[in-house]
Every structure is written in structure tokens, then in C-alpha cells.
């Protein structure tokens, strides 16, 4: 089955593919515009046990999912795993200068910790933390990634604030992957 998501913005291509894959369809392929959509679909394929490959198709791309059984609800929560969620570029709302410094120190402290988070998630103004305005945050998140954390950044939010090109660390992501991460771990800490 070939789906056409040309001209469709995130997360439409993921919704279209997910529906077919979860229904157990085989030979699923989907036409998309660019790299962000491809990356999201590749992650979707990995999550569902249907790895995706892609090729150029004129000025668009064709993403093909491997055949096989689709893993639905595959990821069970391991005990003791956690994710940290930033939905603002500061900890707390009363003074952004103090809050920004607290956020910076929190990320530093996580990067030094023995028990690292499985995920560090950024949404809404939280995405401003990963644009390199604060080089320290980028360095510390890179350390966390080296140690095995995944850093997911809301693409819709980067787009909204017009800072998509300024992302310095982490993976542009979507509501599915960010909520999927929250569902996978045993606790989510909102800072």
C-alpha cells in the first residue's frame, strides 16, 4: 500500500503510517517531503518493530516499512526508569532569571549523576533551552546522550518559535514519541 503524505506537515505522515502498520498492513510505503518526516517515520518503524528505509522519489522521498508483525504496546515500563520533562525554559514561573539558572544547574546535575534519565524531553518554551543560547546546557546534554539518555525536542514548538535551525543538541521529535517516552518509563519528573 502506498500512502501519499506529500505536502503534509508533522505529525500527519506519522498518523497515516501508524494507522496502517497497527492494522497489520504489509508493503506499507509513504511519500513525504523531507528529512524531519523521514526521521519521525524511521522512529515509528523502530518502535513498532517494522524498520523503515527510504529513497528519493523525484523531489520527494519514499519511506518503506519492512514487512512482518507489528509490535503494538510493546514497550513495558522497566522499574526505576525516569524521564525529565521541561515545558518551560525556566524552573518555576516567578523569576525567569533565577528559573533559567536553576534549569541550567538541574541539567548540569543530571549530567553528573550516576543515575541518568532515560529521556530528557523539551516542549513549548522548554525548546529554547536547547538552541545554544546557553552553551553549558548543550554540553551537559551531550554528556547525557553519551551516557545513554535520549533527548527529544518538540518540532512543532521549534517551528512555532522560529528556531528550528538553531537546535544544537537532541532529536527533533513529535507528540507520539514524547508521550511514548513518558509512557515507557516508570516516572516522569516535570521541572
Amino acid at each position: 500500500m502506498r500512502l501519499d503524505a506529500g505536502g503534509k506537515q508533522c505529525p500527519i505522515p506519522v498518523i497515516m503510517a501508524k494507522k496502517e502498520l497497527e492494522a497489520g498492513e504489509q508493503d506499507v510505503e509513504i511519500i513525504v517531503d523531507g528529512q524531519t518526516q523521514i526521521d519521525n517515520l524511521v522512529r515509528l518503524g523502530d518502535t513498532l518493530g517494522r524498520p523503515a528505509s527510504y529513497e528519493a522519489l523525484g523531489d520527494k522521498f519514499l519511506v518503506k516499512f519492512a514487512n512482518g508483525e507489528t509490535k503494538v504496546g510493546a514497550s513495558g515500563a522497566e522499574s526505576d526508569t525516569y524521564a525529565v520533562f521541561f515545558n518551560s525554559n525556566a524552573i518555576g514561573t516567578n523569576n525567569s532569571e533565577l528559573g533559567g539558572n536553576l534549569a541550567k544547574m538541574a541539567i548540569f546535575t543530571l549530567s553528573e549523576s550516576d543515575k541518568i534519565p532515560s529521556y530528557v524531553l523539551f516542549m513549548n518554551e522548554g525548546v529554547k533551552l536547547v538552541t545554544g543560547v546557553e552553551p553549558q546546557i548543550v554540553e551537559n546534554l551531550e554528556t547525557l546522550i553519551e551516557k545513554g539518555s535520549k533527548v527529544l525536542v518538540c518540532g512543532t514548538c521549534l517551528n512555532f518559535y522560529g528556531i528550528k535551525d538553531e537546535l544544537k543538541v537532541g532529536t527533533v521529535s513529535n507528540m507520539y514519541d514524547i508521550l511514548g517516552a513518558m509512557q515507557e518509563v516508570s516516572k516522569v519528573i516535570k521541572l
Partner: protein, 92 residues
Amino acid sequence: MDEYYLLTFESTHAAISTEKILKPAEVRIMPVPRFISASCGISIRISPDRRVQAEQIFREQSKLTVDDYTYYHVKRDKESGETDCRQIEHIV
């Protein structure tokens, strides 16, 4: 070996304002390490190769007095966790 210079402060405002002026020296802020106690929880970490620059900026721009902050030289063995932390002279 992890080696750095560290400023701790009596007030959070002093820490935040100092971090601002020291930004060109690429200082890093961190919670005050557990082996030191200070009134305020924010400390500023200066890498040895930026020490001269940081101290110069501090001398020229900071309005703090010697009672407002403490200056340390920290050496920490990453493997053993053994830490050598010495208070050093204020920046004058």
C-alpha cells in the same frame, strides 16, 4: 583529574549577576558541591585556562566585596572521588 576554580556566594543575586559578567570567560554554573557549604546554592565554575580572563573581568566589573563571595581551587580525582578543595585569596 578534574581541576577548576570555584566562586561561591553569600547571596543568590550576587551569584546570578556575577555569572552574567563572567559569561565571556565561558564559566559554568553548578550547584555548590556538597563538600563546601555556602549561603547560596549557586556556584560558578571557572576552568583553569580561563582563570586569568575571568579574574580580570571580575576585577574590572564586579561590585562585590570580599565578604560577598569565597574563592576555591578544586582538584578532584574522578575515579577515586578524592577531592582537594582549598580556599584561595580573594580576587583583588
